[in-house]
């Protein structure tokens, strides 16, 4: 094993940048941050020993400026977090070429899992079950009869997708064979506009699947293990909102089969580091490879909590050449209790539309079984340019029932004033019979009844009136509104809208 890095540049923002900085400090490694000029008030800067200005524009995606910052700060390693450049093979190569340690899988592994169609083909070869579908071969769309035959074989509905797509973009649901050809054309048009083209294919659409993923970890000595599953079925707009482990949908046999398949998937691309293999679990209990995320996952903390391990520490050690911890390899790890992650988004809780503004008060829940990974605090400005994830609440308890009750307590305890959040949605999910029974699928949020809410209690009206009739405190005036592009240093609030 090479020595550990001395100074890691964290090429990210928000909660994940803070979370990585914490582990770096615990390992005696200096965490260095970066920020876009328009994001100079960003909360993650507080977690760093120092941070560097990347300049204007979408700077977190600018690999050149990030490498320049790493050089300027004397960093010897880069952790990309998730999103931004984390699954960009060219960036990973540039980091290595610059003589820095890349804390992530090899660029080859990233590329092999980057294209959905290529990944599907590779998984089929490796014996991993994939979602039934077409293979997107170049002439496919022209061969109407062949397509129709395949679609009929698996049954409708199907989902048309772009191989290079993501985040639900360009996906079209098709219920009848007559509409298939047109949907393929439409997705091709969208893909050309949004991702510069690429192939288009279709998959069987499961109406009420669960989304269950398996954490995998490989080292440079060729060991690959799985670290159990996370159930990510609670979604809105194809994005995860609540995750839990263990999955209430798995029994030991299925858990073992999925773990084995995930390890096979990772082995097929010679995976080193932390990765996640996502599966759809259909209503009949069969699982199908969906994709592999070649990076740290947002919801990794629930795995850390139930297993009592530290994934970011392992990422850094393994990037430096260490072997997987012995306990991960000898089968002695097993989940204890239950963990749930709830994502607090800045958005309307039931319409899912983004919300912006200044956070006037921010008080996190705490106490037994509570972990909060936050990317904002009191005074933070939530703008339109970045992901709406404000913080993750991670709850652990000895049983699923106790974890749900604890999560519900923590959501009630969380004080976030000034920007609307999805807190009421989180409460509604936890209160729902579907979630409590454990028998739910990806349609849980869509099928939730909007909770009946009475009027605020008298105390809330009286508090509101009392606050509104008092003279406004000086410290609360004039902030939270957009400013011109003046120098954020030495002005009253450092924030300005993203450039």
């Amino acid at each position: 094993m090479s020595p550990l890095p001395k100074r890691i540049l964290i090429a990210n923002r928000g909660e994940i940048a803070v979370r990585i900085a914490r582990t770096a400090r615990e390992m005696g490694i200096d965490p260095v941050g970066v920020f876009a000029s328009g994001d100079s008030g960003a909360f993650h800067r507080r977690a760093m020993s120092q941070s560097l200005d990347l300049g204007p524009g979408p700077a977190y995606l600018d690999s050149g400026r990030i490498l320049e910052a790493a050089r300027a700060a004397g960093a010897d390693a880069i952790h990309p977090g998730y999103g931004f450049l984390s699954e960009n093979a060219a960036f990973a190569r540039a980091v290595t070429a610059a003589g820095l340690l890349w804390i992530g899988p090899s660029p080859d592994s990233i590329e092999k899992m980057g294209g959905k169609l290529a990944a599907r083909a590779r998984m089929r070869e490796a014996g991993v079950p994939v979602v039934p579908g077409s293979d997107g071969s170049p002439g496919e769309a022209d061969s109407g009869a062949e397509l129709a035959r395949r679609a009929a074989q698996m049954g409708f509905p199907v989902l048309v997708k772009a191989s290079s797509g993501g985040g639900g973009k360009g996906m079209v649901r098709v219920d009848r064979i007559e509409d298939l050809a047109e949907a393929l054309s439409e997705t091709r048009r969208v893909a050309e506009a949004a991702f510069g083209g690429g192939r288009v294919y279709f998959e069987k659409l499961f109406e009420r699947p669960r989304h269950v993923e398996v954490q995998v970890f490989g080292d440079s000595l060729g060991h690959i293990v799985h670290l159990f599953e996370r159930d990510c079925s609670v979604q809105r707009r194809h994005q995860k909102v609540v995750e839990e482990t263990p999955s209430p949908a798995l029994d030991d046999r299925l858990r073992e089969a999925m773990g084995r398949a995930a390890v096979e998937a990772a082995r097929a691309v010679e995976y080193v580091g932390a990765g996640t293999v996502e599966f759809l679990l259909d209503e009949r209990g069969s699982f199908h490879f969906l994709e592999m995320n070649t990076r740290l996952q947002v919801e990794h903390p629930i795995t850390e909590e139930t297993l009592g391990i530290e994934l970011v520490r392992a990422q850094i050690e393994i990037a430096a050449g260490a072997a997987l911890p012995r306990a991960w390899q000898d089968g002695s790890l097993s989940p204890r209790g239950h963990a749930i992650e709830l994502r607090l988004y800045a958005e309307d809780p039931f319409e899912f539309l983004p919300r912006t503004g200044r956070i006037l008060a921010w008080e996190e829940p705490s106490g037994p079984g509570i972990r909060v990974d936050a990317g904002v605090g009191t005074g933070s400005v939530v703008g339109v340019d970045y992901d709406p994830l404000l913080a993750k609440l991670v709850v652990s308890a000895s049983s699923r029932e106790a974890a749900i009750a604890r999560a519900r307590r923590a959501v009630s305890e969380w004080i976030v004033l000034g920007v609307e959040t999805n807190g009421r949605l989180l409460a509604a999910v936890l209160d729902s019979a579907a979630f409590q029974s454990g028998k739910y699928a990806t349609d849980l949020i869509a099928s939730l009844d909007r909770p009946r809410e009475g009027e605020p209690p008298d105390a809330a009206w009286i508090a509101a009136a009392s606050a509104l009739e008092a003279p406004e405190p000086a410290s609360e005036t004039g902030t939270g509104t957009s400013r011109g592009p003046e120098d954020p240093w030495q002005v009253r609030s450092g924030w300005r809208p993203g450039a």
Binding site: L353, V384, I415, G418, I462, L468
Partner: protein
């Protein structure tokens, strides 16, 4: 201790009956007066005291029972955490000014969320059909298409591509 009356309104209206487009139905408005030892809510007297710390209200005592709350104010809006939930209130406008605010943009399409104008797909004066996408807003990695509510002609288009738009402001006008 002053005991001025404030007319305040719950943002979003009554939970089960949101504020209607014309701004009348579903509104939750109360007249509140807070004194030293009692409050008056829509004429109903409630023995109540308010505990303030650091400029925020942190407890309301009603009939001897002290309930924790937390307020934060920004100009005419106030956010209240109470009973494990958060509410937003604002000083209620007179009904007439509210009606004016709503009618002023009768022909206009309001932005449903804050964001940046990612694409402008039409120009002023263009003929459009119902459902046609006029522009695309983007915020926090999410795109939102603004569509024409009817056949017509594009009136004013106040924003350019790349502009920052707040929620609830007119982003396009469709003339008959």
């Amino acid at each position: 201790m002053a005991a001025r009356r404030v007319k305040i309104e719950l943002e979003g209206g009554r939970g089960e009956q949101p504020v209607s487009q014309d701004g009348t139905a579903g509104r939750a408005v109360r007249d509140v007066r807070v004194g030293a030892t009692d409050a008056v809510l829509d004429g109903r007297l409630v023995p109540a005291r308010v505990l303030r710390e650091e400029g925020a209200v942190t407890a309301v005592e009603i009939e001897g029972v002290s309930i924790p709350v937390r307020t934060a104010r920004e100009r005419n809006r106030v956010f209240v955490w109470c009973g494990g939930r958060t509410y937003e209130f604002h000083k209620a406008e007179a009904a007439s000014s509210r009606a004016v605010r709503h009618s002023a943009h009768a022909g206009g399409l309001l932005s449903p969320m804050p964001g940046r104008v990612r694409k402008l797909l039409v120009a002023e004066g263009d003929a459009v059909v119902r459902g046609q996408i006029l522009l695309v807003l983007e915020a926090m990695k999410m795109e939102h298409a603004i569509r024409s509510p009817r056949d017509g002609r594009v009136g004013s288009l106040p924003f350019q591509e790349g502009d920052l738009v707040e929620a609830g402001v007119p982003v396009a006008e469709i003339l008959e």
